[in-house]
Amino acid sequence: MSFINYASREINCKVVYYGPGLCGKTTNLQHIYAKTNPDLKGKMISLATETERTLFFDFLPLALGQIRGFKTRFHLYTVPGQVFYDASRKLILKGVDGVVFVADSQIERMEANLESLDNLRVNLGDQGYDLGKVPYVIQYNKRDLPNAAPLDEMQRLLNPGGAPEFEACATVGKGVFETLKAVAKGVLTDLRKMAR
């Protein structure tokens, strides 16, 4: 849940990158980290296995600028995508303000995408959130690969609700900031709704 601090005139929001194992969640954060001005970012923390798979989470604190005299800060987290880390995913979703679902475009990962999206829905539901109501965007990653599924098929399977969606190639940064901006915008718009 976002946290408004009048003493330091700051607002903090939490965004979680979700998706199946190896879809490119950590790569998204790494790109954001690499391309962000040092004044605007904190240290990136990765709790990972020896083989660079996310074990618990990645964390990247980011300052986006001011709104009405309040510094807006986003705390970006990734979950571990591997199926058996479900307990950790549930913990990281706590207090989330916005979600990015990173889908792996490779045809053979479509089943894994669907399973992960289902898992997201269930885990959000356990906490009383509804995927249709949380600020949410979807990213079709790895568009560069020859075995990428056609876009319209991915849309049909993974985004029937018509959430904001972006094609990406996280390794070169394509679509990464567009995705981040869209989710941040969703979160801030939601704050306005809540305040009204």
Partner: protein, 164 residues
């Protein structure tokens, strides 16, 4: 809505009260540093002499660690492990969950002792619990009023954030 899931709003006067508790605790416990972190990993107040420490990372990892051990607690049928102590070569870390939603972190070295820290944390913890009950109520009220700075933001304000 469950207790921990409401947006927290911290006003200046409450912040100063929380800070005062932290400062007193740092003094009374001869601690190097005292931090109040919310369970979602946001740093709310800090006191003591902890210059150069990466407090944002500290807050996020504290929350992660408490979340992980909280998950363990549930597996064995406990609600939560309220007290955590990590002993280092030089510095030690003491963490307590207060009022189910915040974490009180104390860093101390040989100038203090676990016994002293425990004793002082107990008192500070109950003061913080009272303060946060109040803060929680105010947060709920703030949420339902138009005083939020975000009630008036425009699409333009949001777009400007991403101007570069």
């Amino acid at each position: 809505m469950p207790f921990v899931d409401t947006q927290l709003v911290l006003f200046d006067e409450d912040y100063r009260k929380v800070l005062a508790v932290c400062e007193r605790l740092a003094r009374d416990a001869h601690a190097k540093g005292v931090f109040v972190v919310d369970k979602n990993g946001q740093l709310m107040a800090e006191a003591g002499d902890v210059r150069g420490l990466d407090t944002t990372s500290l807050a996020s990892l504290t929350a992660g660690s408490i979340a992980a051990t909280g998950g363990l607690a549930k597996i064995i049928g406990e609600e939560e492990f309220p007290i955590h102590f990590h002993q280092g070569q030089r510095d030690n870390l003491h963490m307590t969950v207060v009022a189910k939603r915040i974490i009180l972190v104390v860093i101390f070295d040989e100038r203090s002792s676990l016994g002293l820290v425990r004793l002082r944390v107990k008192k500070a913890g109950s003061e913080l619990a009272r303060l946060f009950e109040e803060i929680q109520k105010k947060s709920e009220r703030a949420r339902n009023s138009a005083t939020s700075p975000f009630a008036e933001i425009t699409d333009d304000d949001i777009d400007k954030l991403f101007a570069d």
